[in-house]
Every structure is written in C-alpha cells, then in structure tokens.
Amino acid sequence: MPPLPLFRLPGLVLFEVFKSLSIGEKINLSLCSKKISTQINNARLCSQKVIVNLDMLDHGMRVRTENNRDTFDIFISLYSRRRNDPDMQQCQIDGHTVPLFSFTREIDTFWKNYYSTSIKDVSMQDFN
C-alpha cells in the first residue's frame, strides 16, 4: 500500500487514531514532523495519565502509565558521544535539531548543549 496521507483524514478520525496509540508510538509519531506534534498536542490527551520518572544516574527518563503496562524510555547523551550510523535521524525538538536513534520502546537523543536544554519539557508537551 502507498504511504497514507495522514492529513487528508478528518480531525476527529486523527484524534481517535492518536488515542489508540501507546505512549512510545505517540512520541515516535510526534518526532516525524512538527505538524504531527502539534496535532497530537491539539488532541488533548489529558485522559491519559502518565508518570514521568527522571533517572539522574543514567541521564534519562521513563514515561509510563500508572499500571506500568505502557512504558517508554528517553535517554539523553552528549552530542560528542554520537556515532556515525545510517539509522541516526535528525529531529526537530523544541526548535533544536537533535540527532537521535528511535526504537519502539525508547529513543536515544544527543544534545549539543547538555545542560541548557531540557528534553523533559519537550516530551511533556505531548501529554499537556
């Protein structure tokens, strides 16, 4: 099947689709484009209560549901630690171009200015 033109779908249908995706799928989808990220934010998925655990030791965070059934990890690394890999993507996060590896259950991000940018704020936007 050819690629699906997501934005030709009615808004209500899009919202229903977003609702049925897991935390990780929503984060991964929001990294596809700024417009999708905005749409996911507009869907106001407030009904989905999530818990964010910050892991200072491993420089990462875990976003999870209350019952722990749905979890997604975000790892924050220094830009200098990035490695040349064809699978590495460049994504726009909060106005910054961030190299990252995206997986179904986690993303590894590499930040140029490690301390001044907070990925926590960025990912929290997805959950309002």
Binding site: P3, L4, S22, N28, C32, S102
Partner: protein, 203 residues
C-alpha cells in the same frame, strides 16, 4: 417515497456527487447518526443528497451498513483481531484512495462502527514502529506543499474579507437609500401641516 413509520422496510434514494441515485434500506441508513438526526423523524421527500461523495464510496459505506444490520448493537471500538472474515475482506479489497474516501464519508455520516474500525486500521499501520518506519508509512506534506496551502488559505481569508467589506458597504448604501424617502416624506408632511396651520390661523 419514504415514511418514517416503517423505516426498516422502506428504501431511501441516495444521490451521489455524479447525480446518480441508488436505493438503501432504512435499516442500513439508521446506522448513520447524521441521517437519524436529519431525516428519520421527518422522512425524505425525494432523493437524499450526499453530493460530497461519489457513488462508489457511498455504495461501499452502505454495503457495510447493510451487512452489519443484523449484527448485535455496537458496543464501543473493537480490536482489529476481532474483525470477522467479511470485515477483513471488506477492508482488504479497497485501495488507499477508496479507503480515505470511505473514512471521510463514514465520518460525515457518523457511522460509529465503521469509523472506529477504520481508525483501528490506521493505528495498526503505525503500531510497533519507530520514527523512521512511521515516516515510510505516512505521507508528510513537504515545506512547499505547506507553503502553497498557507498561501491558498491567506488568499481565501483575503477574499472573504473583501466580500464582507463589500457586503457591509452595500448594507450601508441600502440603509441611506431607504432612509431618504422617509425623511423626505416626513419633511413634506411637516411643510404641508405648517402651511395648513398658517392658512388656518390667517383666516
């Protein structure tokens, strides 16, 4: 042609964007909340125009409705794994253009069951994928397309503003035109009365 009393047996005529008409049973049509809100209680006098959608799309949507007439009442979205063989065939034989048209028509007609299955099908395309794989599955508008869309929207907004301004101007002109004769009439009557009063007082 239609009577609200026996809507399950009666056939309704549906008109598509091509101007073609075809029959749909009342029972199938009642699955559409839009139809229920618009026509169920009052009945339809002539073909019901769903002219935003082509015949093939409408026929596909109502084919689904006809099939699910005898199924138990809809009780919220089901997982795609719960779909019957017929349902799966129904979705599999559609190409992508038809699939999108069906979603749009189903959304407009507010057919909960069909819309929910379509949503589930799209969600399934995205499930278990990382960002790169998702980008391959969906088409994202390019910067040029977004710019062109924005330009069209700006043009539309400018045109709408012009129309509104013109309408306001015309309304103002009409008001002044309507006011003039009344004012003239009042003045003439006042003059006449004054003259009459003066002649009366002179006498």
């Amino acid at each position: 042609m239609t009577s609200p009393a026996s809507s399950s047996e009666v056939k309704y005529l549906i008109e598509s964007s091509e101007g073609n008409t075809f029959d749909v049973s009342g029972a199938a049509l009642r699955q559409s909340n839009t139809f229920n809100a618009m026509f169920l209680n009052i009945g339809a006098d002539g073909p019901i125009p769903f002219t935003d959608y082509n015949e093939a799309t409408l026929k596909k949507v109502f084919e689904y409705c006809e099939h699910s007439v005898n199924e138990e009442n809809y009780s919220g979205p089901k997982h795609q794994d719960d779909l019957s063989k017929w349902d799966l065939n129904f979705f599999n034989e559609m190409d992508q253009k038809m699939f999108i048209d069906v979603i749009n028509a189903s959304n407009f007609l507010d057919i909960e069951r069909l819309t929910s299955y379509c949503c589930e099908r799209i969600a399934r395309m995205l499930r278990g994928k990382n960002t790169q794989e998702m980008i391959k599955v969906i088409t994202l508008p390019t910067a040029e397309e977004l710019e062109a869309k924005q330009k069209v929207e700006e043009k539309k907004a400018a045109a709408a503003k012009k129309v509104a301004e013109k309408a306001a101007e015309t309304a103002e002109k009409t008001e002044t035109l309507e006011e003039l004769p009344v004012q003239q009439l009042v003045q003439t009557t006042r003059n006449k009365l004054t003259r009459k009063y003066l002649s009366f007082s002179n006498e």
